[in-house]
């Protein structure tokens, strides 16, 4: 644990990418193989099974710290991280230990077989032999969510340096459904056998946002364009008579969308598709909130299957006839995708997302301005001669989103943030006018700079009218431009509307509160875009 904690600390103590890669590469070169594999797993979001409930952890930590549970609970949102809160409140340890990361993970796994009293003893004993930093790491193993300020991309780069294996190959080997308990460093990294994991997806290629227009790109003839759909990005893997649907976060979603089982009858094995999972009827996508009902459901009731059936709107073909074709140019992959989907019967839940035809960037801008009418978020631009890359890379794919909707609103409530923003007021409620009343209609947490958050925090402290627990009612004095991606009717909200992705686009120092928008303005937007 000391070596892993030292790595964690080294990564935490620098903001410089090179220093992080150096620390990781050194760790990968010298740590014992089981620890190495666990580190790769943790840094790619694969955490050990949770054996202790967080409720128990909170109770035991408060008890060990000699503070009432409510005080622990009040402290937690301010720290913003349960593992860290526990590490901070516990008294100094009574002894030390030098056991490995793998040992502690095994110990946690074994706890699941014991009764509650024994589990509690196990955790208290562990806390009592780990230093404050080691405890933070240990608690993170308990609570999951291992964020060490290192992206999977950086981790892969470091591993590439330590092993000499090409970075893209490694990225692919690290994908999919594996755990250090079911594989070894050799089997996963050094000598992988493609037959062992039929479900293994390819790394997703992610686009950057195109700021400004596409004029900065070269000849439009070199580019293909599609609409950017507002669904869930998914990779559908069809191999060996089975199908697997992966989310961008490498989560298997197969069971949530049983519709895709039918595809085995229509698409040959050895096919991997990249596309958007969309709720779909009458040959058009439904608004995102139809799909939302299906997210988070592990099993789907029949009613929902008929109300919000899904399809994959495919935009890329990554594996064809059992061969990885990611190195082929987009135009070629796309032609094969079109051929593959051309003759599918309507009941097959698969379509190719149409390519848009345009001769100039002006043409395309006109098409983009129709996005909302098509339930789309904007456009995707893809270079026709580009391979399918991995991770987020600039140059070959761009997303060109529509401009957000905006409304000027008055800030009326403020609440402190947590974690990274613990001592700042960052969570605000905004209102629009309804006659002389201010009607709250949305919250927003992001969009301001740290410096602006600092200034608004100082202002909130001096202009609090009332406190309701952690929420402060403030003088209605500041107007903010709220940007959002969509608007829907919502009977649960006082204002009757719910916004999608609201954030603070600008602090309108120039606007008096009387000039903020009204509830009528919001209702008009609902009629136009809801």
């Amino acid at each position: 644990m000391k070596r892993f904690t030292a790595l964690f600390t080294a990564l935490d103590q620098t903001t410089k990418t090179n220093a992080k890669v150096d620390a990781l590469a050194a760790y990968f070169a010298e740590a014992p193989e089981p620890d190495r594999l666990w580190t790769i797993a943790l840094l790619s979001g694969r955490r050990p099974k949770r054996t202790i409930t967080t409720t128990h952890l909170r109770e035991w930590a408060a008890e060990r710290a000699g503070i009432p549970l409510w005080l622990f609970e009040e402290s937690y949102p301010i720290v913003g991280d349960l593992a860290e809160t526990i590490a901070l409140v516990l008294p100094d340890p009574g002894s030390t230990s030098d056991r490995s990361l793998t040992h502690w993970i095994g110990m946690l796994r074994d706890l699941s077989k014991l009764d509650e009293a024994a589990r509690k003893q196990g955790i208290l004993d562990a806390w009592d032999q780990l230093t404050a930093r080691e405890r933070l790491v240990f608690n993170k193993l308990l609570t999951g969510g291992f964020r060490m300020g290192v992206s999977q991309k950086l981790m892969t780069r470091a591993l590439s340096r330590a092993t000499g294996i090409d970075e893209s190959d490694l990225a692919h080997r690290l994908m999919g459904d594996w755990s250090p308990e079911t594989t070894s460093f050799d089997a996963l990294i050094r000598a992988p056998d493609p037959e062992t994991d039929l479900s293994k997806p390819y790394p997703f290629y992610l686009a950057y946002q195109l700021d400004g227009g596409p004029e900065a790109l070269d000849d439009p003839a070199n580019w293909a364009a599609e609409r950017k759909w507002d669904g869930i990005r998914g990779q559908l893997v069809l191999r060996g008579g089975q199908h697997f649907l992966w989310s961008r976060g490498e989560e298997l979603m197969t069971d949530r969308f049983p519709e895709f089982a039918r595809l085995i009858d229509f698409v040959p094995p050895g096919t991997v598709l990249d596309g958007e999972v969309l709720a779909w009827t009458d040959d058009a996508p439904l608004p995102f909130n139809a799909l939302q009902k299906r997210i988070g459901r592990k099993t789907v009731p029949k009613k929902l299957l008929t109300e919000a059936p899904v399809i994959l709107y495919a935009y890329d073909l990554l594996e064809h006839e059992g061969r990885d074709i990611r190195a082929l140019p987009f135009a070629e992959r796309r032609a094969r995708l079109d051929a593959l989907t051309a003759d599918l019967p309507p009941e097959a839940p698969l379509r190719a997302s149409p390519l848009l035809s345009f001769a100039s960037w002006d043409d395309l801008a006109a098409i983009r301005s129709q996005s909302r009418e098509h339930q789309a978020e904007g456009l995707m631009l893809k270079r026709k001669d580009a391979p399918y890359r991995d991770g987020r890379r600039k140059g070959d794919w761009w997303k060109w989103k529509v401009d957000p909707l905006t409304i000027d609103a008055v800030m009326i409530y403020a609440q402190q943030g947590h974690g990274r923003r613990a001592n700042l007021f960052t969570d605000f409620t905004f209102a629009v006018w309804n006659g002389d009343d201010l009607v709250p209609f949305t919250k927003a947490y992001s969009g301001l700079t740290d410096e602006e958050f600092g200034r608004i925090t100082a202002w909130v402290r001096r202009n609090t009218l009332e406190r309701y627990g952690p929420v402060r009612q403030v003088k209605p004095e500041h107007v903010f431009e709220i940007a959002f991606e969509g608007i829907q009717a919502s009977p649960r909200h006082k204002s009757g509307v719910a916004l999608r992705f609201p954030r603070m686009a600008r602090w309108r120092h120039d606007k008096p509160t009387a000039e903020a928008n009204t509830l009528t303005d919001l209702q008009e937007m609902l009629t136009a875009y809801g």
């Binding site: 005080l71 913003g80 613990a422 600092g454």
Partner: protein
């Protein structure tokens, strides 16, 4: 019923018996000041009363003010009140203000720190009936390491940077934290350069006789190359600016109690966060309050709601007072702030 010893007004904490305000935030005729930070010592008061140790910095910051000084422990009769100043351990010259009217004693803590720092006059618990306390770090997650342990971390970091040819830029408040760091670190490791705002305060405190190591003021003429392996002591707001970039390749650090929280540390985007505060930690607050013997506690700034509930659960009669004190913020620096 007689007036309470102190009342809370929209101008500040007021003593009716003496007709004086303590650390007021709006102009008043007569102000008693606990210490020189900008949220406690503001301009525009008719007359000021502060300790001998706090006055020079106040003059430096507030210019030509009518200020009278008092020694720690010396009792002044003002109207019907007996008033005295006692060390708060926050920064050099900082005081708690004790107010006694008709046998009833109230103490205003200002900002305070219980652990000695080798530079500020150490905190003295004062017995009282009512204690007005800050609670900037009034949560059990805040527990400070000893100053020696933190100084050792900074020394190690500085040495490693010097060995690798990097400058070491450490952000800290210009009044208090900066001087405390200067006196705690190992000045033999290398030269120490200071931001103008830090050096101005250094000069004031040196003139008062506080022992500080030699420092070099950063001016446009200073060439960082002439001072390899230097520690640069900067104000928080100077970190990440063009001013800081002129030192070339550097590791940046920030010293504050808030650095105890990993999330806050990351927001600062400094390479290193050192947990060092001029305010009491959880245990410090609780010890200080217990030692006053007070039954009634007012919490002024910090995690007041949670802290009040905690105090009530410990049997105190506790309440919150709204003030405009800010405690330890990350920026702007309380000395630089307007």
């Amino acid at each position: 019923m007689a007036d309470p010893v102190l009342t809370f007004t929209d101008r500040g904490i007021y003593c009716p018996a003496a007709d004086v305000f303590i650390d007021p935030w709006k102009p008043v005729d007569r102000a008693l000041i606990t210490h020189g930070h900008a949220d406690h010592a503001r301009p525009g008061m008719g007359r000021y009363l502060a300790t001998d140790g706090a006055a020079p910095v106040m003059r430096h910051r507030l210019g030509d003010i009518a200020i009278e000084t008092v020694a720690y422990g010396e009792t002044r009769r003002i109207g019907g009140a007996a008033i005295s100043f006692h060390p708060a351990g926050h920064v050099p010259g900082s005081a708690q203000i004790r107010v006694e009217v008709g046998g009833e004693v109230w103490v205003v803590s200002g900002d305070y720190k219980v652990a000695p720092d080798g530079l500020s006059e150490p905190f003295e618990p004062i017995r009282c009936h009512t204690f007005i306390t800050e609670c900037t770090f009034g949560l059990p997650v805040f527990r400070w390491d000893s100053q020696n342990a933190v100084a050792a971390q900074i020394n190690d970091w500085w040495r490693a940077n010097a060995a690798e040819g990097r400058a070491t830029i450490l952000g800290a408040y210009a009044l208090g934290k900066a001087q405390r760091l200067l006196s705690a670190i190992d000045a033999s490791i290398g030269p120490i350069l200071t931001h103008g705002a830090v050096e101005n305060t250094n000069e004031v405190l040196r003139a008062q006789g506080l022992p500080l190591p030699d420092t070099i003021r950063v001016t446009p003429e200073i060439n960082p190359k002439d001072h390899p392996g230097a520690l640069v002591l900067a104000t928080p707001s100077a970190l990440g600016t063009a001013w800081a970039r002129k030192f070339g390749p550097a590791s940046t650090g920030f010293a504050s109690g808030w650095m105890a929280l990993r999330g806050v540390r990351r927001r600062r985007a400094a390479d290193r966060g050192f947990v060092l505060s001029d305010h009491a930690d959880w245990e410090g607050l609780n010890t200080a309050i217990a030692e006053t013997g007070a039954e009634r506690i007012f919490a002024t700034h910090g995690y007041t709601q949670i802290f009040r509930r905690w105090l009530e659960s410990q049997g105190y009669d506790a309440a919150i007072v709204e003030t405009q004190y800010e405690g330890e913020t990350l920026d702007p620096d309380p000395v630089e702030a307007p």
